[in-house]
């Protein structure tokens, strides 16, 4: 663990800005810094303007938002569940969203509706997981371990549903579903960026507001109760907020694995321990990781693209292995 220093924040923000700039500049058609500035001040050629403003900028913005949301969501869940292996997708969010999206594709719903159905699917899965956990727990008491297992069970059930749904559909639908399940921020629109942006802003503000309460929850349920926290309500609140935040990213960009798991570990490796600091660190690192991954995804073998979810995992795994080695 590195001792925490104030300049880390500035370095982090600068690094994020640099990665975002590269994300806009690099691609099949490289854009020079001069062209980039020209495009933003709308004095560029129509072609450059179109690449920057309608293709690359929303793409980078969406990637950053997805990273922020998954990172902060993961940090909240790990602290609330007191489990460094917790991540948003463990709670059935990914499975539920996938069921929603696949169902939408099969029903032939317009692609504009996929995110909505994915979000509904994720929401239903989370509610189901909480419901299962409450039913299983003693006298309506929600045990965090039961909650985690309920999420896994709901996720497994969702996977089964997806396989059944995909068993009898045309190959094109399968390809669409698969592409979506591998995650992508390509071909995004400013509309998607706007709604996810509003959603992430609200969600992250909520998590930041309740962060001191989450700090208390890391002590365990009895100690948290002794410090005046309504444990049941606080746990459910954190759980729901982070799950819905992750669900929104799944709706906007499909499944992008590993970010919610690995980003909080990266933030803590910088010596961040207070939940508000961890959240801020996760926002910066999460955004950086997803923007950089998307950049890699499209520059490695142009003009074709690698699945974003695979790249985030490839970037995240080595870090995670190093962390594991450090744990005794």
């Amino acid at each position: 663990m590195i001792a925490h220093r104030t300049w880390h924040w500035w370095a982090g923000v600068l690094a994020l800005a640099a990665v975002c700039l590269l994300g806009v500049a690099l691609g099949t058609v490289p854009i020079s810094l001069a062209d980039l500035i020209a495009a933003l001040t709308s004095s560029a050629t129509p072609a450059v303007h179109s690449i920057v403003v309608t293709l690359r900028l929303p793409r980078v913005a969406l990637a950053a938002l997805v990273g922020i949301a998954l990172g902060t969501s993961g940090a909240t869940l790990q602290a609330t569940l007191r489990n460094p292996l917790a991540e948003p997708y463990l709670l059935g969010v990914s499975g539920g969203a996938a069921v929603g999206a696949v169902a939408a594709m099969m029903l032939g719903a317009s692609s504009a509706l996929w995110p909505l159905l994915a979000f509904i699917g994720a929401g239903v899965a989370v509610m189901l997981a909480i419901g299962v956990a409450r039913g299983a727990g003693r006298s309506g008491h929600t045990d965090v371990r039961v909650l985690l297992m309920a999420g896994v069970v709901v996720g497994a059930f969702a996977n089964a549903v997806i396989m059944i749904l995909l068993a009898n559909v045309p190959a094109s639908t399968i390809r669409g579903a698969l592409w979506w399940m591998m995650g992508s921020v390509a071909d995004t629109t400013w509309f998607t960026v706007a709604w996810l942006g509003a959603y992430v802003l609200a969600g992250v503000a909520y998590l930041v507001w309740y962060a001191p309460e989450i700090d208390i929850l890391t002590l365990g349920e009895d100690s948290a109760a002794g410090l005046g926290v309504d444990v049941k309500r606080a746990t459910r609140r954190a759980f729901l907020a982070s799950a819905l935040l992750a669900a929104a990213t799944v709706a906007a960009a499909g499944l992008i694995g590993f970010v919610g798991l690995v980003v909080p570990h990266m933030a803590r490796a910088f010596g961040l321990t207070r939940q508000r600091g961890v959240l801020a660190g996760c926002a910066i690192i999460g955004a950086m990781l997803v923007v950089a991954s998307d950049l890699l995804a499209r520059v490695v073998i142009p003009p074709s693209e690698l699945p974003l979810g695979a790249v985030t995992a490839v970037l995240g795994v080595p870090f995670f292995l190093i962390q594991l080695r450090r744990m005794r």
Binding site: A79, P84, R138, W209, P212, I216, T218, L219, D222, G228
Partner: protein, 260 residues
């Protein structure tokens, strides 16, 4: 002051209560010890105070006010509980850990209020852990960790302190440190309610004792009234004698061997 009035608790309403009509009182300026065999209901009493198990009947009062009436936050400001176990998945700096005790006073947004760092240092001093303030919680020894936890409880600012088996995993030196600390805090005016298995140390440091057996109070009063051989023999179901310790002449239990 912490007061249990005729408290009955059952985890399952259809089954036998685990605590039956327990009344006890931990006054300011004294150490009140709750003792008894495993499963006698000691920790259930603590969990009830935390609001983690509902009361079937009776009430728990802090300074004469029902804990259900004051609300959790206010309760946490008046009475701090050092629970038996605590989760240590995420380590933090000791000063930051102790500052968590300020949460009941500052809530979600005022976490950085100016008086708070002073409160943290004052609490660390009272628990004699100022020298540990710069360390990480996962680098502390068992004894240091327990004293840091007590410091966090003191940072809550109340005049009532509950310690649930605070010396379970400690060697005799660290155990003595905790008991002396509890006695010193009581002397300074706090009401200390101490749940412990260490009968002999309790007999030395506690002002009064409450002996629980199968969820009921079977004896209460000064260590001399509670530490009676035939009573303890029956409650702990083991042959023993009660003598006097040579150092301070407090009652002392010596377990005997039994042919098995």
């Amino acid at each position: 002051m912490i007061e249990y009035q005729d408290v009955t608790i059952a985890y399952d309403p259809d089954k036998e209560p685990v605590v039956t009509s327990v009344s006890l009182r931990a006054e300011r300026g004294s150490v009140t010890a709750v003792v008894g065999p495993n499963g006698s209901g000691k920790s259930t009493l603590v969990r009830a105070l935390l609001g983690r198990v509902p009361l079937l009947s009776g009430r728990i009062l802090i300074d004469g006010v029902d804990v259900d009436v004051i609300g959790r936050r206010e309760l946490a400001r008046r009475c701090a509980v050092v629970t038996q176990r605590e989760d240590t998945t995420f380590a933090r700096e000791t000063s930051e850990y102790i500052a968590l005790g300020r949460f009941p006073s500052t809530g979600s947004w005022g976490a950085a209020a100016s008086g708070d760092s002073e409160a943290v240092i004052a609490a660390a001093k009272r628990a004699r852990v100022e020298h540990l303030l710069g360390r990480m919680t996962d680098e502390l020894s068992g004894g240091e960790w327990q004293r840091v936890r007590i410091a966090r409880a003191l940072a809550q600012g109340g005049e009532a302190l509950v310690l649930d088996e605070p010396t379970s995993f400690l060697d005799v030196g660290h155990e003595m440190q905790i008991f002396q600390l509890a006695a010193a805090l009581a002397e300074a005016g706090s009401a200390v309610l101490l749940v412990s298995h260490q009968l002999n140390l309790v007999a030395r440091f506690a002002t009064s004792m409450v002996l629980l057996h199968k969820g009921s109070v079977v004896a209460t009063g000064s260590p001399d009234t509670v530490m009676r051989g035939e009573l303890l023999e029956r409650v702990y179901d083991w042959p023993l004698v009660v003598t006097r310790d040579p150092a301070v002449n407090a009652p002392m239990l010596v377990p005997l061997r039994r042919t098995i």
